[in-house]
C-alpha cells in the first residue's frame, strides 16, 4: 500500500477534532479572560486612582500572578485541557507555560533545571515578540514619524 492510499484509510477511521466547538469554547473563555482584565483596569482606575497606562500594566501582572498561582496549585492544566486555546492565547497561557516548565525542572537545580528550562515553551514567544516589535517599531518610525 502506498502512502497516499494509507492516508485515505487512516483519514476514514481516525476521528476529526470538532474545530467549531473548540473555537467557540476558546472564543468564550478568551473573552471572559479579557472581561476580567477590563474589570481589573476599571476597578484600578476608579477605586484606586491609577492612570490608565499604569492600570493596564498592573492588570497584566495580576493576570500573570493568578495564572501562575493556579498552575502551581495544580489545577490550571485541567482548565486548559477543557478551555483549550481560550486560556493559552491570552497572557495567562504565557504565565502558565513558564510556570509549568519551572515546576517540571525544579528538582534538577536552580541553574541547570529552572534556569535553563524556564523558557522551554515560551522562549519562541519572547524571541519573535522582540523581533516583531523591532520591525513594527521601525516601520512606525520611518512611515508615521514615531
Amino acid at each position: 500500500m502506498n502512502k497516499e492510499r494509507y492516508k485515505q484509510l487512516t483519514d476514514k477511521i481516525v476521528p476529526k477534532e470538532n474545530k467549531v466547538k473548540n473555537a467557540i469554547t476558546a472564543f468564550l473563555v478568551g473573552g471572559l479572560v479579557g472581561l476580567l482584565g477590563q474589570i481589573i483596569v476599571f476597578v484600578l482606575e476608579n477605586n484606586f486612582d491609577v492612570a490608565h497606562k499604569d492600570a493596564t500594566s498592573i492588570m497584566i501582572v495580576i493576570l500573570i500572578f493568578i495564572a501562575s498561582l493556579c498552575t502551581a496549585l495544580g489545577f490550571f492544566d485541567n482548565l486548559v485541557s477543557k478551555a483549550k486555546a481560550g486560556l493559552i492565547v491570552p497572557i495567562t497561557g504565557f504565565a502558565h507555560a513558564m510556570t509549568s516548565s519551572m515546576i517540571d525542572y525544579k528538582k534538577e537545580g536552580l541553574i541547570t533545571g529552572i534556569g535553563s528550562n524556564a523558557f522551554k515553551l515560551t522562549g519562541s514567544v519572547i524571541l519573535y515578540g522582540v523581533v516583531s516589535a523591532y520591525i513594527f517599531g521601525t516601520i512606525r518610525y520611518v512611515f508615521f514619524g514615531g
Binding site: 500500500m1 494509507y6 487512516t10 498552575t71 495544580g74 492544566d77 486548559v80 516548565s101 528538582k107 515553551l121
Partner: protein, 331 residues
C-alpha cells in the same frame, strides 16, 4: 524472521500499577497498586525505579528464586538512556542488558532472552518492562503541568512495571516462537496518532509470523497487539485485509483498548500506551486464562513507534516496529 524455541518457558510474573490502571478493567489483578504518581519518591523518574524494584521483589517471591539464581536481567522503558531500568540495575547487582524498541520492547525482551537461554550457562532470565505516564510526558511532549489539550486519537501512557522470569525448566506455558519485525514507515508525522503509525508494522509482523510458522488466524485463540488504541485497531483490521488478505475476525484484541475502562476514564482518549501496556494485560489476564485453560495459543504483537522528537522537528515521518511472541499451553 521467526525463531522457534523448544526450551523456553514462562515461570512467574508480577505486575505493579498506578491509580488509573487500578480503576481500569484489570485493577484487581495487579500484585500491587499505588495511589499517586510519586509513590513516596522525590521525582517521577525515581518513582518508576521504585515500581521496578517492587515488581522484581514480588516476582522473586512468587517464583521462590533469589537474585543470585537469575543469570541475566533485561530491562526496557521509554526514557532516554533507559534510565529507570539502568539505574535500578545497580541495586540488583546482576548482569544486565538494557533494550529499547519503544512500546515493542516487551516482545524484544522475549526474543533476546529466548536466544540467550539457548546457552548452557544461562538458566533463568528476568525481564522487566516499565513506563510512567509523567516521565514519558516530560520526555516526549510538554511539561506535565502544562496540560496541553489532547485530541481524541491520542493515547495515555500506562504507569506500571511488569516482571517475568523465563526459564529452561519446564512449566505449563511455553514460548514456542518469536518473530523479529521489520521497521516500516508509511509517512505518518502526527505525534498524537500512534495507532496510524504502528498498524502497518503490526500487520506485517502478523503476516510474516503466520507465513513462517505455517499457521493461520484460526490456529490462535487470541492475537493481542500492544498499544494501537481504538482507531489503530480498526486501521489494522482494514489494512491487513487489504494488503495481506487476512481476516482477523474476533480473534484480535488490542491491550490499549481493554486496559482502561474507557467509558468511565475519558482522560485516556483512544486507550493506553507504553511498553508496560501490553505487559500489564498479558502478565495478568492472559497468563491467568492460559493457566485456567481458557486460552491455549496466544500471539502477542508488541507495537512500537520509534518516535524521536528531534527527527519529528526535522519533519521526518515516524518509523514503527512490531515484534511477535507466541505463547502456548503445554502439558
Amino acid at each position: 524472521m521467526t525463531i522457534n524455541f523448544n526450551n523456553v518457558y514462562v515461570k512467574d510474573s508480577s505486575t505493579v500499577a498506578c491509580k488509573d490502571e487500578k480503576e481500569g478493567n484489570f485493577g484487581k489483578l495487579y500484585d500491587k497498586t499505588y495511589d499517586d504518581y510519586y509513590i513516596g519518591c522525590k521525582t517521577f523518574e525515581q518513582a518508576e525505579m521504585k515500581m521496578i524494584n517492587d515488581s522484581v521483589s514480588i516476582v522473586l517471591d512468587k517464583s521462590k528464586l533469589k537474585l543470585d539464581d537469575i543469570n541475566v536481567i533485561i530491562g526496557a522503558d521509554l526514557s532516554n538512556q533507559i534510565t529507570a531500568n539502568s539505574y535500578s540495575s545497580i541495586k540488583f547487582n546482576r548482569p544486565y542488558i538494557g533494550l529499547y524498541n519503544a512500546c515493542a520492547s516487551m516482545c524484544e525482551e522475549f526474543i533476546v532472552a529466548g536466544s540467550l537461554l539457548q546457552n548452557k550457562e544461562i538458566k533463568n532470565i528476568l525481564l522487566n518492562v516499565s513506563s510512567h505516564n509523567m516521565t514519558a510526558e516530560r520526555q516526549f511532549r510538554n511539561p506535565v503541568e502544562y496540560g496541553c489539550p489532547k485530541p481524541k486519537r491520542s493515547t495515555f501512557t500506562v504507569t506500571g512495571s511488569a516482571s517475568l522470569v523465563l526459564t529452561k525448566e519446564k512449566t505449563n506455558i511455553k514460548v514456542s516462537s518469536v518473530s523479529i519485525g521489520t521497521t516500516t514507515d508509511l509517512g505518518v508525522t502526527d505525534v498524537y496518532d500512534m495507532g496510524s503509525v504502528m498498524a502497518p508494522s503490526a500487520a506485517r509482523t502478523i503476516f510474516e509470523h503466520l507465513t513462517q510458522t505455517n499457521t493461520t488466524i484460526d490456529d490462535y485463540d487470541l492475537i493481542l497487539t500492544g498499544d494501537l488504541g481504538v482507531y489503530g485497531k480498526e486501521i489494522l483490521k482494514e489494512y491487513i485485509k487489504e494488503v495481506y488478505d487476512i481476516d482477523l475476525k474476533n480473534i484480535h484484541e488490542d491491550s490499549a483498548c481493554i486496559i482502561y475502562d474507557r467509558k468511565k476514564q475519558s482522560q485516556v482518549k483512544a486507550g493506553g500506551s507504553g511498553p508496560a501496556c501490553l505487559a500489564l494485560v498479558t502478565y495478568t489476564d492472559v497468563l491467568n486464562k492460559m493457566k485456567e485453560g481458557n486460552l491455549k495459543k496466544v500471539l502477542l504483537v508488541a507495537t512500537g513507534a520509534l518516535m524521536s522528537p528531534t527527527m519529528n522537528n526535522q519533519k521526518l515521518s515516524i518509523p514503527s516496529i512490531s515484534h511477535a511472541v507466541c505463547l502456548e499451553v503445554v502439558k
